[in-house]
C-alpha cells in the first residue's frame, strides 16, 4: 500500500459529512482559487458578449470626427473614449466590447463542432476496437498532421474569408485531439467491472456507450473542451491578425491588434487594450480548464 493510499484509506472510510453547501463552496474556493478566478473571467466575458449593445458607449463602427486630432492621429483615452479612439476615429472601448462576441462565438461553436465529431469517433473507436479503431485512428492521425494555423489559412484562402469559414476550419481540425483523448478514456473505463456488470445484466451497446461510459469520461472531456475554447480564441485572433477571418470594420480583437501595430509607438492604446482583453479571455478559459483538471483529479478528491 502506498503512502497516499494509506492515508486515503484512513480518511476514506468515513461517512459523508453533512456540511452546508455554502461552507463546501468556500472550502473548494480556498483549495482551488484559480478555477473561480477563471470562472469569473469567463462569466464576465459572456456578459460582455450578450449585453454588448448595453455596455458599449458608442456604435463600434461609427467613425467619430472628434476621435481624431487635427493632424489625423487618433485621440487617447478620455471621458468620451475611455480606451481612446482608433485611426479612423472609432471608439476602441465599444469595439472591444463587441469584439468579445467574435471570440466567444468562435471559441464555443468551433469547440462544439470538434467536440461532437471527436467524442463520437473516440467513443466508437475505443469501444469497438479492432478494424474500426484502426481506421478511425489513422484518419485522426491524418487530421493531426496538419498544423492548425496553416491549415486554417489554406482553407480560408480557398473558401474565402468569413467568420463561418473560420469556424469550419477550426472546428474540423480540432477534433483530432478530442477523438484521441476520448478513445484513451474509453479504453480505460471499459475495462472497469461496472461496464462488464452492465453487459452481464443485458444492457444494450448504446446504453453502455452513452449511459454508462460517457458520463464517466465527461470530466476529462469538459477539461479538454475548456482548454480547446481558449486555444480556438487564440487561433481566431491569429487568423484575424493575418487578415483572414472577420473582416473590418466588424471588430475582432485580432484585427484590432493588427490595425494597432503600425501606431504602437504614438497610440499604444490601440494595441494594448485588445491584447489585454484577449489575454484575459484566454487566461480565463485556461485557468478554468486547468483548475477543473485539478479538481477532477482523483488524487485531489475531497470527500
Amino acid at each position: 500500500m502506498s503512502v497516499q493510499n494509506a492515508s486515503a484509506a484512513i480518511g476514506g472510510a468515513s461517512k459523508s459529512q453533512k456540511k452546508s453547501r455554502g461552507a463546501l463552496f468556500w472550502k473548494s474556493v480556498r483549495k482551488f482559487p484559480m478555477v473561480y478566478v477563471g470562472g469569473l473571467i469567463v462569466f464576465l466575458l459572456v456578459i460582455c458578449a450578450v449585453f454588448a449593445p448595453v455596455l458599449a458607449l458608442h456604435n463600434p463602427i461609427t467613425q467619430y470626427q472628434n476621435g481624431l486630432h487635427m493632424d489625423g492621429t487618433p485621440v487617447g483615452p478620455s471621458k468620451f473614449f475611455p480606451f481612446g479612439a482608433d485611426d479612423v476615429g472609432r471608439d476602441v472601448y465599444s469595439r472591444l466590447i463587441y469584439g468579445s462576441r467574435v471570440s466567444l462565438i468562435v471559441g464555443f461553436v468551433a469547440t462544439a463542432i470538434s467536440l461532437l465529431i471527436g467524442t463520437t469517433l473516440g467513443l466508437i473507436s475505443g469501444y469497438f476496437g479492432g478494424f474500426i479503431d484502426t481506421v478511425i485512428m489513422r484518419i485522426t492521425d491524418t487530421i493531426l498532421a496538419f498544423p492548425f494555423l496553416l491549415f486554417a489559412l489554406a482553407l480560408v484562402t480557398i473558401l474565402g474569408s468569413s467568420l463561418t469559414n473560420v469556424l469550419i476550419a477550426i472546428g474540423i481540425l480540432g477534433w483530432g485531439v478530442m477523438a484521441r483523448v476520448v478513445r484513451g478514456q474509453v479504453l480505460s473505463v471499459k475495462e472497469f467491472e461496472y461496464v462488464q456488470a452492465a453487459r452481464a445484466l443485458g444492457a444494450s451497446t448504446p446504453r453502455i456507450l452513452f449511459r454508462v461510459i460517457l458520463p464517466n469520461i465527461l470530466g476529462p472531456i469538459i477539461v479538454l473542451a475548456t482548454l480547446a475554447v481558449s486555444q480556438n480564441i487564440l487561433v481566431e485572433a491569429g487568423l484575424s491578425f493575418l487578415g483572414v477571418g472577420v473582416q473590418p470594420p466588424t471588430p475582432s480583437w485580432g484585427n484590432m491588434i493588427y490595425a494597432g501595430v503600425q501606431d504602437y509607438q504614438f497610440a499604444p492604446w490601440l494595441m494594448v487594450y485588445p491584447g489585454v482583453a484577449l489575454l484575459l479571455a484566454v487566461l480565463g478559459f485556461n485557468l478554468l480548464g486547468d483548475g477543473l483538471r485539478d479538481i477532477l483529479d482523483p488524487r485531489n478528491a475531497t470527500h
Binding site: M1, A6, S7, I10, G11, A13, S14
Partner: protein, 326 residues
C-alpha cells in the same frame, strides 16, 4: 540479546481538511537481534504507516512523534544525511507490489548495485559483480545473464527476489517487509517466505514483517503485535498469542478466518466496520464492535495490561486478571 529497534510511544498524524488526525497512536514495540516481529492487522490499522515512519519515508505532511531507537539512537532526530546512511544500509525495506517497486528504465544489476555504490563506495563494475552474487543468493537462475535485464522481463515472484537482493545488498541489521507476499500466489509466497527465513538466519538479521495474514505470522514470526485502528491491541510471543489470545479483537480475527482443516463451522465475523480516523471513539477503539463491551470501554482506553511473560493486551477485561510482567 540486545534490541535492534525500539519504538516508543509512536504517534503519526495526517492532515485531512486542515485538521490533524492520529493514524497511529501509543505504539511501542521492540525487535531483538535476529528476531522476527510480526505487525498484523487489517487495512487502515496503521501498520504500513508505522513501518514507513521507521524509515522516515512518510510524506512531509505527516507529523511523527515519540521515539524510534535504532541501536540507541533516535532516528526521528537524525539529520537527513545520517538518515540516508541508515536507509538501505543498516535498515532495508521491501514492499508489497513487486511489479511496481522496481524502476522500469534501469537494469536489474544497476538497481541492486545502487545501494552498494551509495553506502559501500563500490565502483560500478564492482557493484555489478556483487549484484550477480546477490542474485545467486536469492535464487535467481543464470544470474550473470539476467543482471543486465530490465524489470519487465521478470515475473512477480522473481521481482520480489530482486527486491530482496536490493534489500540484502549491504547486509542490514533489520529488514522491514511490508506485505512482501500479499501480491503473490501461494506457491510463490511459500518460496519467498522460505528465502526470507533462510537469509535472516544466515545473516542474523532481524525482520519486521507487516502483514494481514495470520498464517504468515504463525509461520514466520517469533513475536507478534496485533494492531487495530492505529493502536496495538495485543502483543506477545507468537505461540502465546495464537494459543491463548487475550484480546477480544485478536479472538474475533481468528474466529473469522476459514480454516483449512477440521470441521467446517460457521464463521463468527466481527460485526460492523473499522472506525474512521476522523471519528475515533474516545475509549477503547474496538468498543463499538466488541462482543464483551462494558460501559467503561466506551469512556476510557484501558492501556496495555500484562497477560503473561512478554504478553500484553489492551482490554479492560485484562484489568481483573492482570499479570505482572518484567
Amino acid at each position: 540479546m540486545s534490541n535492534v529497534l525500539e519504538v516508543k510511544d509512536l504517534e503519526i498524524q495526517f492532515e485531512i481538511d486542515e485538521k490533524y488526525y492520529s493514524a497511529v497512536k501509543d505504539v511501542s514495540f521492540y525487535i531483538r537481534e535476529g528476531e522476527t516481529l510480526g505487525l498484523v492487522g487489517e487495512s487502515g490499522c496503521g501498520k504500513s504507516v508505522t513501518s514507513l515512519s521507521i524509515m522516515r519515508l512518510l510524506q512531509d505532511t505527516a507529523k511523527v512523534s515519540g521515539a524510534i531507537l535504532y541501536n540507541g539512537e533516535n532516528l526521528l532526530e537524525l539529520g537527513p544525511a545520517k538518515m540516508r546512511g541508515i536507509r538501505g544500509n543498516e535498515i532495508s525495506m521491501i514492499f508489497q507490489e513487486p511489479m511496481t517497486s522496481l524502476n522500469p528504465v534501469h537494469r536489474i544489476g544497476r538497481q541492486i548495485g545502487e545501494s552498494l555504490m551509495l553506502h559501500k563506495g563500490l565502483s560500478a563494475s564492482e557493484a555489478r559483480l556483487e549484484a550477480i552474487e546477490l542474485l545467486r543468493k536469492v535464487g535467481i537462475p543464470r544470474p550473470d545473464e539476467v543482471v543486465d535485464d530490465y524489470p519487465h522481463q521478470f515475473s512477480g515472484g522473481m521481482r520480489q527476489r530482486v527486491m530482496i537482493a536490493i534489500a540484502m545488498a549491504c547486509q542490514p541489521k533489520l529488514l522491514i517487509a511490508d506485505e512482501p507476499t500479499t501480491a503473490l500466489d501461494v506457491t510463490i509466497q511459500a518460496q519467498i517466505l522460505d528465502l526470507m527465513r533462510k537469509l535472516a538466519a544466515e545473516n542474523n538479521m532481524a525482520i519486521l514483517l507487516i502483514t494481514h495474514d495470520l498464517g504468515v505470522v504463525a509461520e514466520m514470526c517469533d513475536r507478534v503485535a496485533v494492531m487495530y485502528a492505529g493502536k496495538i491491541m495485543e502483543q506477545g510471543p507468537v505461540r502465546e498469542v495464537f494459543r491463548n489470545p487475550q484480546n477480544p479483537y485478536t479472538i474475533g480475527l481468528m474466529n473469522s478466518i476459514p480454516k483449512l482443516e477440521g470441521p467446517r463451522m460457521r464463521l463468527q465475523p466481527i460485526e460492523g466496520n473499522v472506525p474512521s480516523v476522523r471519528n475515533m471513539p474516545q475509549g477503547c477503539r474496538f468498543a463499538a464492535r466488541c462482543p464483551y463491551v462494558m460501559d467503561i470501554c466506551r469512556e476510557q482506553d484501558p492501556g496495555l495490561l500484562g497477560a503473561g511473560p512478554e504478553h500484553i493486551s489492551r482490554c479492560w477485561l485484562q484489568a481483573d486478571r492482570e499479570v505482572q510482567t518484567q
